[in-house]
C-alpha cells in the first residue's frame, strides 16, 4: 500500500510540475518535451488504478503521435513565440476570474450531488471485477458487440476526417517531378545508354 501511495505522489507531483513547465518554459521545444513527460506520468497514474489499456493508449497516441506532431509544428513553423507570449500577463486577471467562477460552480454542483439510488440496476454495462478479466479483453467484448453501432459510426467520422484533409490540402502543382514507375521500369537499355568510341588521347 505504501509503495502505491509513494508512486502516486511521485507521478502526481511530476505531472503537475511538468504541466506547469509546459506553459512556463521559454523555449517551445522544451514545452513539448515537458508535455511528453506529463503524458508519461499521467499514464503511470492510470496504471496505478488498474486501467492499463488507457495508460498504453495514452503513451501510444499522445506521446507517439500528438506530441511528435506538436514538435514538428513547433520546429517547422516560424512563429515568434516570445511575441505571442508578451501579452499573456495582461490576460491573467480575466483568466483567474473565469477559473474561479468555474471552480465555484463545480463546488456547487458537486456539493449537492445526489447519485440516483438504484444505480447498479440501470447502468448499461456494469464494470466487471478487474481480477476476472483484463482491461483490453473487457473493452473488446463491449466495443464489438454492445457498441458496434458506435464503433462503425466512429469509423465513418475518421473517413470524413480523411476526405476533409484531402479536399482542403491536396492540390496539383505544376512543375513537380513525380515518380512514374511504369515508365521507369519499361525503359530499355538502348534508350538511355549510348556507346561512344573514344579515340585515344582525344577525350569525349
Amino acid at each position: 500500500m505504501i509503495v502505491q501511495s509513494l508512486a502516486f505522489y511521485l507521478f502526481a507531483a511530476i505531472l503537475v510540475a511538468s504541466a506547469v513547465m509546459v506553459i512556463a518554459a521559454r523555449n517551445p521545444v522544451h514545452s513539448v518535451l515537458f508535455l511528453i513527460l506529463a503524458f508519461f506520468n499521467a499514464a503511470g497514474l492510470f496504471v496505478l488504478i488498474g486501467a492499463e489499456f488507457v495508460a498504453m493508449i495514452l503513451v501510444i497516441v499522445y506521446v507517439g503521435a500528438v506530441a511528435v506532431l506538436f514538435l514538428f509544428v513547433v520546429m517547422m513553423l516560424d512563429i515568434n513565440f516570445r511575441e505571442l507570449r508578451s501579452g499573456a500577463l495582461q490576460y491573467l486577471p480575466v483568466g483567474i476570474t473565469v477559473g474561479l467562477v468555474l471552480l465555484v460552480e463545480l463546488a456547487l454542483v458537486l456539493g449537492t450531488w445526489v447519485i440516483v439510488p438504484d444505480l447498479a440496476a440501470v447502468s448499461g454495462a456494469p464494470t466487471p471485477a478487474p481480477d476476472q478479466i483484463n482491461n483490453t479483453h473487457a473493452l473488446g467484448l463491449l466495443i464489438y458487440t454492445h457498441y458496434a453501432y458506435l464503433f462503425q459510426a466512429a469509423g465513418l467520422i475518421l473517413l470524413i476526417a480523411m476526405i476533409g484533409a484531402i479536399v482542403l490540402t491536396l492540390r496539383s502543382r505544376e512543375g513537380v517531378r513525380r515518380q512514374n514507375i511504369s515508365a521507369q521500369v519499361s525503359r530499355r537499355r538502348d534508350q538511355v545508354v549510348a556507346i561512344r568510341k573514344v579515340p585515344t588521347r582525344g577525350g569525349v
Partner: protein, 485 residues
C-alpha cells in the same frame, strides 16, 4: 454473448453509408469530370433512402443495444432532412461547375453529412447523439471551407470549426454530468429514472440541471439559437452559396429533431426545469432575428438572421412542451425547408455577367427583368413574413396556438410582435424587386434543375392551404409517437 442486432430499422442509414463509400470510390476512379454524375447519384441515393424510411413499419423499434431508435417521429424528420439535402445537392450542381469547385468530394460529403443527421434523429443514447452530431458537423466544417482559395470561405470554415468544437465540448460536459447523476446514457432508461424520481424533492439535483443546461447550450449552438448564434451570419456569408442553402435547412431540421427528442423523451418529466431555457432562447432568437436583420445589405447575411428568427418561432412550439407544440415544431420545420431552399435557389440565380452578386440592391427591378423569378421570391417572402395564405402563416399559427394552450401568453404575444418587425425586411425585398428601377439586369440562363426546384417549392408554398391535411396528419401522428413512448 450478444446476439446479432436487427438491422431493418437502420436500413436507410446502412444503405446511405454503403452508397457514400461506393460513390467515393466511383468518384476517385472516374475523376472530377464526373461530378455531375456523382451528384445525380447522390440525389438518387437520398430518394431511395427516403423511400426506405417511408416503407418502414411505423411502429417504434430499437436496435443496436438500444442505441438506435426508429419511430414515426424519426421517419417524419428523416424525410424532411433527406428532402432538404437532395434539393441542396440539386441546386449546387451548376454552381460548383461554374465556380471551379467541381470536385467529387462535394456531393459525397453532403451525403455523409446527411447520414450524420439521420443518425442524430434516431439517437436513443447520449453517445449516439454525440457520434451522429460529430459525423454531421465534421462534414459541414469541410463543406464550409470547400472554396479553400477564397479567404471568406476559409474563414467561415475555421470559425465554424472552432466554435463548433467549443459547443461539442459543452455538450459533452453536460452529458458527463447527466451520466454522473444517472449512471446511464440511454434515453429510455433516463426517462424511466427521471419519471420515477424526478418529481420527488431532492432528486432533481443541481448537477443534473447543470448537465441539462450544458447539453441544451451545445444543441442551441447547432440550431443557431440566441445566445449561441454569433457564428451564423459570418459562416452563411462566407460559405459557398449552395452550402449555405444546405446549412440553412438540413442540419437545422436534424438538430431540432434531436433537441425535441432529448427534451421530450429522457427529460420529459423535467419540463418545468427546461421550459425556462427554451422560453428564453425562443424569445431572444425571435427578437434578435427580427431586429438584427433590418440593417443587413447582403442577402446571405439577411437569410442567416432570418433563419435565427425562424428557429426562435419553432422553439416556441417546443417551449409549450405538449404534443400540440411538438406537432407545431415539426410542421414549422417542414414549411421552413421549402421556403428556404426556394429562396436560396433564387439567390443562386443572382448573377451579373457570369459573376455571383449578393447585395439586396442587386435585386432592384427584378419584376421587370425576370417576372417569374420575382413572383417566386414574392411568394417566399410573404411566406417567411407569415402573411396568409402563404404556407409560412400556418406554420406560425400552429406554434403560437400551442403556446397559447400551454398558457405561455407572453411568449406568444412577443412572438407575434417580433414577426411584425420581421415582416419589415421581407417586405423591403419585395419593394426593391417591384418598385425600384433596375440597375443592371441579372443573367438569364437559369438551369433546368433550378427552375424545377424554384417552381416546385414556390407552388408548394403558395398552394399549401388547399391540401394541408397530409402534412398536418403526418406531423400529428409523428408527435403522438414521441409522447406514446
Amino acid at each position: 454473448m450478444t446476439e446479432f442486432p436487427v438491422l431493418t430499422p437502420a436500413l436507410p442509414e446502412i444503405f446511405m453509408a454503403l452508397s457514400a463509400i461506393t460513390l467515393l470510390m466511383l468518384g476517385v476512379f472516374r475523376g472530377d469530370g464526373d461530378t455531375r454524375l456523382i451528384s445525380y447519384l447522390t440525389v438518387g441515393v437520398e430518394v431511395v433512402a427516403a423511400v426506405l424510411v417511408l416503407t418502414g413499419s411505423g411502429v417504434r423499434e430499437v436496435t443496436f443495444s438500444n442505441l438506435f431508435v426508429m419511430d414515426s417521429f424519426g421517419a417524419f424528420m428523416k424525410v424532411l432532412v433527406l428532402m432538404g439535402s437532395a434539393l441542396s445537392v440539386l441546386v449546387s450542381i451548376n454552381y460548383i461547375e461554374r465556380e471551379q469547385m467541381k470536385r467529387i468530394e462535394f456531393p459525397v460529403l453532403m451525403l455523409l453529412a446527411t447520414l450524420g443527421m439521420m443518425m442524430m434523429v434516431s439517437a436513443n443514447d447520449l453517445i449516439s447523439l454525440y457520434v451522429g452530431l460529430e459525423l454531421q458537423s465534421l462534414a459541414l466544417y469541410v463543406l464550409a471551407a470547400f472554396r479553400r482559395d477564397h479567404a471568406k470561405s476559409s474563414e467561415a470554415g475555421l470559425k465554424y470549426f472552432v466554435l463548433g468544437a467549443l459547443s461539442s465540448g459543452m455538450l459533452l460536459y453536460g452529458a458527463s454530468l447527466v451520466y454522473g447523476f444517472a449512471g446511464t446514457t440511454n434515453f429510455s432508461v433516463l426517462a424511466d429514472l427521471f419519471a420515477g424520481h424526478g418529481q420527488q424533492a431532492g432528486h432533481t439535483s443541481i448537477g443534473l440541471i447543470a448537465g441539462l443546461t450544458f447539453v441544451a447550450a451545445g444543441l442551441a449552438f447547432k440550431i443557431s439559437a440566441v445566445p449561441f448564434h454569433m457564428w451564423t451570419p459570418d459562416v452563411y456569408e462566407g460559405a459557398p452559396t449552395p452550402v449555405t442553402a444546405f446549412f440553412a435547412v438540413a442540419p437545422k431540421v436534424a438538430a431540432i429533431a434531436l433537441f425535441v427528442r432529448l427534451l421530450i423523451e429522457p427529460f420529459g418529466s423535467m419540463v418545468d426545469q427546461w421550459r425556462q431555457i427554451i422560453y428564453f432562447t425562443a424569445l431572444a432568437s425571435m427578437v434578435l432575428g427580427s431586429f438584427a436583420a433590418i440593417g443587413q445589405t447582403n442577402i446571405k447575411r439577411l437569410m442567416a438572421y432570418s433563419s435565427i428568427g425562424h428557429i426562435g418561432f419553432a422553439l416556441v412550439g417546443l417551449a409549450a412542451g405538449t404534443e400540440l407544440g411538438v406537432r407545431g415544431v415539426m410542421f414549422y420545420m417542414a414549411i421552413y425547408i421549402f421556403m428556404n431552399i426556394g429562396t436560396f435557389g433564387i439567390i443562386l440565380c443572382m448573377r451579373q455577367n457570369g459573376r455571383m452578386v449578393e447585395e439586396i440592391t442587386d435585386l432592384a427591378g427584378l419584376s421587370k427583368t425576370h417576372p417569374m423569378l420575382a413572383l417566386a421570391m414574392l411568394i417566399f417572402m410573404f411566406s417567411m413574413a407569415g402573411i396568409p395564405p402563404a404556407a409560412g402563416f400556418f406554420a406560425k399559427l400552429f406554434v403560437f396556438q400551442a403556446a397559447i394552450q400551454a398558457h405561455l401568453y407572453s411568449l406568444a404575444i412577443l412572438g407575434v410582435l417580433a414577426s411584425v418587425v420581421g415582416a419589415f425586411y421581407y417586405l423591403r425585398i419585395i419593394k426593391v424587386m417591384y418598385f425600384d428601377e433596375p440597375v443592371e439586369p441579372l443573367d438569364r440562363n437559369i438551369s433546368g434543375e433550378m427552375t424545377l426546384v424554384i417552381a416546385g417549392t414556390s407552388l408548394f408554398t403558395l398552394l399549401f392551404f388547399f391540401f394541408p391535411s397530409p402534412l398536418l396528419n403526418g406531423a400529428a401522428a409523428a408527435a403522438a409517437s414521441l409522447f406514446a413512448g
